[in-house]
C-alpha cells in the first residue's frame, strides 16, 4: 500500500511535462513516442541481423567454407538402421534426410495415436468412483509426468536391451511373434493382387457410412427417429472389408519369422530403438493428455448431466451428445500443444540411436560434410513446417467443434 502511495506522489511531483523543449514534447506525445519506439526496434533488429550476417560471412570465409546445398547430392556413405524407403550407404544425403524425416513422422504418428488412446483411458479412469483404480492411475500419472521424457526413453531402451533374451532364447507368442533384445519380430504381410478388392470394400464402406450418417441425421431432425448409426458404421467400415477379404480367399500371405542359427530370419522387425522411443513418448504424453481429459470432463457442469437425465436420455447418449461435445471444447486446444510436444520430443531419438531427422541430417550428415549452417537451418525449417501443419489442422478441428453462440 505504501509503495502505491509513494509512486503516485512521485509522479505528481514530476508535474506536467516540460513543453518548451521540442524533443521532450515529441517524447511526451504518445503517438510520436510509439512511432519512435517501433522505428528503434526495427533498426535494432536489422542492425543485429546485419551484424550476425557479416560475422557469418567472415567466419565462413576464414574457414574456407561456402554456403551451398550441393552436399545434398553427394553419397551419404552411412547406414540407417530403419528405413521405410529404399536406402543404402551409397544414397545421397538428401535421401538420408528423407529417410530421417519419415522415421520422425512414423514415430510421431504412432505416438500421437497411442498417447491419445491411453490418455483418454487414463483420464476417464482417473474420474472413476473406484478408489483403488483412481489411486493407481493417479500414482502412474504423477510418476510419469514428473520424470524427464529422456529418462523414460533411456529406461525403456535399457529394459528392452538388457532384460529381454537373446534371439536364440526369444520369448514367442504362438511361434508368430518373438520378443528379443534385438527387437520384436512380427509376421510380415505380403499383399497379393486380390487384396485390392478389400481396399475397395474399405473405401466403399467409409463412403457409404458418411452418406448414411448424413441421411440419418436429416431423418432424425425431420422425424425424430434415431437410427443405429454406430452399428451401421461398424458393419460398413469393418464388416465389408472383412467379408471381401474372406470372399476373395484371404489374399495376404504372412511371412513369419523363423529361428535361424544365430538370429531370427524373415518377418518384420520392430527395432528396440523405435520401440523404446514410441512407448516412452506415448506413456509420457498420455499422462499429460489424461490430466487434460479429466479437466475437460470436469469442466462440464453437473447440471448438464441432470438436465439430460431429466429429458430421459440414456447414459451413453448423454455422454455422446451432451458431455463429450462440451468437454472437447476444453480439451482440444491443450491437446494440440501435447501433439506438438510429442513430435518435437521425438527428436530425443538421437540419445538412443534411432535415426530421425536430427540424427541423420543434423547429426551424421553435419559431421561428415561440415555444413553446420545449412544442415541446421534445414532441420529447423522442417520442424517449423511440421509444427505449423499440426497446429493448422488442430485449429481447423477446433473451429469445427467450437461453441456457436448467438
Amino acid at each position: 500500500m505504501t509503495t502505491i502511495q509513494s509512486q503516485t506522489a512521485q509522479s505528481d511531483a514530476a508535474g506536467p511535462p516540460v513543453t518548451g523543449n521540442p524533443i521532450l514534447r515529441i517524447w511526451n506525445n504518445k503517438e510520436a513516442r510509439s512511432v519512435i519506439f517501433q522505428i528503434l526496434t526495427i533498426v535494432g533488429l536489422f542492425a543485429f541481423l546485419a551484424y550476425i550476417g557479416t560475422n557469418a560471412v567472415a567466419n565462413l570465409e576464414r574457414l574456407g567454407k561456402t554456403f551451398s546445398f550441393d552436399f545434398l547430392g553427394v553419397p551419404a556413405s552411412y547406414d540407417i538402421n530403419q528405413h521405410l524407403i529404399e536406402y543404402t550407404s551409397q544414397s545421397t544425403h538428401a535421401r538420408a534426410a528423407v529417410v530421417g524425416l519419415l522415421n520422425t513422422l512414423l514415430v510421431a504418428v504412432c505416438g500421437v495415436i497411442t498417447a491419445s488412446i491411453l490418455g483418454f483411458i487414463f483420464g476417464v479412469l482417473r474420474l472413476s468412483h473406484n478408489w483403488l483404480i483412481n489411486r493407481i492411475v493417479y500414482v502412474f500419472i504423477e510418476f510419469t509426468r514428473n520424470v524427464p521424457v529422456l529418462l523414460h526413453i533411456l529406461l525403456i531402451h535399457g529394459l528392452v536391451i538388457h532384460s529381454l533374451p537373446h534371439p536364440r532364447q526369444a520369448i514367442s507368442l504362438w511361434d508368430e511373434i518373438f520378443f528379443t533384445n534385438r527387437g520384436f519380430y512380427i509376421p510380415k504381410p505380403d499383399f497379393q493382387e486380390a487384396f485390392m478388392f478389400t481396399v475397395i470394400a474399405f473405401i466403399a464402406g467409409v463412403v457409404g457410412f458418411i452418406i448414411f450418417k448424413r441421411w440419418a441425421r436429416k431423418q432424425q431432425e425431420a422425424t425424430g427417429r434415431i437410427y443405429p448409426v454406430f452399428w451401421v458404421g461398424l458393419a460398413a467400415i469393418v464388416g465389408l472389408p472383412v467379408l471381401a477379404y474372406i470372399v476373395t480367399g484371404a489374399p495376404i500371405e504372412w511371412e513369419t519369422p523363423k529361428l535361424g542359427r544365430f538370429n531370427l530370419r524373415g518377418g518384420l522387425v520392430v527395432i528396440p530403438e523405435f520401440l523404446a522411443l514410441w512407448l516412452a513418448l506415448s506413456l509420457y504424453t498420455s499422462a499429460f493428455i489424461a490430466e487434460i481429459v479429466r479437466a475437460g470432463i470436469l469442466s462440464v457442469s453437473h447440471g448438464q448431466w441432470e438436465a439430460s437425465m431429466a429429458l430421459g436420455m440414456k447414459r451413453s447418449r448423454t455422454l455422446n451428445l451432451i458431455i463429450i461435445p462440451q468437454a472437447l471444447r476444453v480439451i482440444v486446444p491443450p491437446l494440440t500443444s501435447q501433439y506438438l510436444n510429442l513430435t518435437k520430443n521425438s527428436s530425443l531419438a538421437i540419445a538412443i540411436g534411432y535415426m530421425d531427422i536430427v540424427a541423420t541430417l543434423g547429426g551424421i550428415s553435419l559431421m561428415q560434410t561440415g555444413k553446420e549452417m545449412e544442415t541446421m537451418m534445414m532441420v529447423l525449417a522442417i520442424y517449423l513446417v511440421i509444427s505449423l501443419v499440426i497446429s493448422m489442422f488442430m485449429n481447423w478441428y477446433n473451429q469445427r467443434i467450437k461453441l456457436v453462440e448467438r
Binding site: E142, G158, I161
Partner: protein, 379 residues
C-alpha cells in the same frame, strides 16, 4: 410391503421397533461404496488387485529384499543376489552429485546450495522472519553463487577462490545451475515478450510473435545443436564462447518463449476495465503494468508458470546430447565402465527418483499457491 404397512393400524405406543438404518460409515461401508459399488466396480477392483499383485512383490524383491548395497563390481553383485545392484549408485554417488568439481573445493557447492535454499525460502515462504532483508539477498544470490562456484579472476581482480572451469561442472549440481538460471531469467524475458505481443506497437508485436513462434516450433535439441555447432559462426571471428554459457542462453530463450505464452494468457484474462481504470488514474504504461495489470495477470498464470518451470527443469537433461555431464552424462560414462556395464536400470531409476522428487514438490507447491491466492468465490 409399503401398502401393507400403510393399511395396518397401531394403537399409539404399540408400533414395533423399526430396523436400524443401513450402515453409512465405517470401513465396511467405505469398502462397499468405494471398491465394490457395482458389478463393474468390483471387476475393476479385482483386476487392479491382481495387477498390483503382479507388479509390487517382484519389484519389492528386486529393489529391496534381493538388492546388494556393498559390492565392488557387477559380478560381485550378481554373486550376492539377483536383485538390484545399488552398490553401483553408492560407488558413483559423489560423481552424480558434484560432477568433476575438484574434491577439495566441493564445500563451495555445498555452501551455495545452502544459500540457494535460503534465497528460495525468502521468496516462497511469506511468513519468514525478516523476510524483506532476505529477499534482497535472493536478488543478489545469482552473483553470489557465480562467485562461489567459479572463483578465479573476475575482470582481472582476484577473488581469493581457486578457479574452477565450467567443464568441471557436472551431475545434479549442473542440473540445478541450468535449471535455476533458466527459471530466474526466463520469467522477466517472458513478461517483456508477452507485453510486446499484446501491446499496440505493430512492429514490436511482429518481432515478439516471430521470436515466440520460432522457438516454440522447434525442439530444444535442435536449439542446443545450434548452440554447440553453429552459434560461433554468428560471433566476431576468433571469439571463444563458453559452451555452458551458450547452453544457458539457449535454454533460457527456449523457456522464455513458453513463459511468454503462459503470461499472455494471464494478461488476456484481465478485464479491459482494469486497463481503462489504470489509464484514467493517469498511470503511465509501465506504472499501470507494474501496479495494476501484472500483479493480477501473474497471479492467475501461476499454475502455467510453475508448469513451465517444471518443463524447463526436466529439459535440462537434454544437455547430455551435446556432451555436458549432467546426471545422465555421468550415467552414460559410468555405464561404459567395465565393472558396472549393463546396470542401466538401477542408474536411470535413481536419476528418475531425483527428478520426480524435485518436480513433484514443485507441482504440489503450485497447487498450494493456487489455493492460497484464490481470492474469488470457490465452491
Amino acid at each position: 410391503m409399503a401398502s401393507e404397512t400403510a393399511t395396518q393400524k397401531y394403537e399409539p405406543g404399540t408400533h414395533p421397533d423399526m430396523k436400524p438404518p443401513v450402515l453409512t460409515s465405517g470401513p465396511v461401508y467405505w469398502l462397499k461404496e468405494n471398491l465394490f459399488g457395482s458389478i463393474t466396480s468390483t471387476i475393476l477392483t479385482l483386476l487392479a488387485v491382481y495387477l498390483l499383485y503382479l507388479i509390487i512383490p517382484p519389484l519389492f524383491n528386486w529393489a529391496v529384499l534381493d538388492a546388494t548395497v556393498n559390492a565392488a563390481s557387477r559380478t560381485e553383485c550378481q554373486q550376492a543376489g539377483d536383485g538390484a545392484c545399488w552398490a553401483f549408485i553408492k560407488d558413483r554417488f559423489l560423481l552424480l552429485v558434484y560432477g568433476f568439481y575438484p574434491i577439495e573445493e566441493r564445500w563451495r557447492v555445498n555452501l551455495s546450495f545452502i544459500l540457494l535454499l535460503v534465497a528460495i525460502a525468502a521468496i516462497l515462504w511469506d511468513a519468514m522472519p525478516a523476510r524483506r532483508h532476505f529477499v534482497k539477498f535472493s536478488v543478489a544470490y545469482p552473483f553470489v553463487a557465480a562467485y562461489l562456484l567459479l572463483g578465479g579472476e573476475w575482470f582481472g581482480v582476484p577473488t581469493g577462490l581457486e578457479e574452477v572451469t565450467t567443464d568441471q561442472f557436472g551431475g545434479i549440481m549442473l542440473t540445478v545451475v541450468i535449471g535455476i538460471t533458466g527459471i530466474s531469467i526466463s520469467l522477466p524475458i517472458g513478461i517483456v515478450l508477452a507485453l510486446g505481443r499484446i501491446g499496440n506497437l505493430p512492429a514490436v508485436r511482429v518481432v515478439c510473435v516471430m521470436f515466440i513462434e520460432f522457438i516454440r516450433g522447434v525442439p530444444l535439441i535442435t536449439l542446443l545443436f545450434v548452440a554447440s555447432t553453429m552459434l560461433t559462426y554468428f560471433l566476431p571471428p576468433g571469439t571463444e564462447f563458453n559452451l555452458l554459457l551458450r547452453v544457458l542462453i539457449m535454454v533460457t530463450l527456449f523457456a522464455s518463449a513458453y513463459m511468454a505464452e503462459v503470461i499472455r494468457g494471464g494478461l488476456q484474462a484481465i478485464p479491459k476495465g482494469q486497463y481503462e481504470a489504470a489509464d484514467s488514474m493517469g498511470l503511465k504504461y509501465w506504472q499501470a503494468m507494474r501496479l495494476i495489470i501484472l500483479p493480477q495477470a501473474l497471479k492467475i498464470s501461476i499454475p502455467g508458470i510453475v508448469n513451465t518451470f517444471i518443463g524447463l527443469y526436466k529439459d535440462t537433461t537434454l544437455v547430455v546430447v551435446i556432451g555436458l555431464l549432467d546426471p545422465l552424462g555421468i550415467a552414460k560414462s559410468s555405464l561404459a565402465d567395465n565393472r558396472w556395464q549393463g546396470l542401466s536400470n538401477e542408474m536411470y531409476i535413481f536419476i528418475a527418483l531425483f527428478f520426480f522428487i524435485c518436480c513433484f514438490s514443485m507441482s504440489r507447491y503450485s497447487l498450494y499457491l493456487e489455493n492460497k491466492l484464490h481470492t474469488g468465490h470457490k465452491r
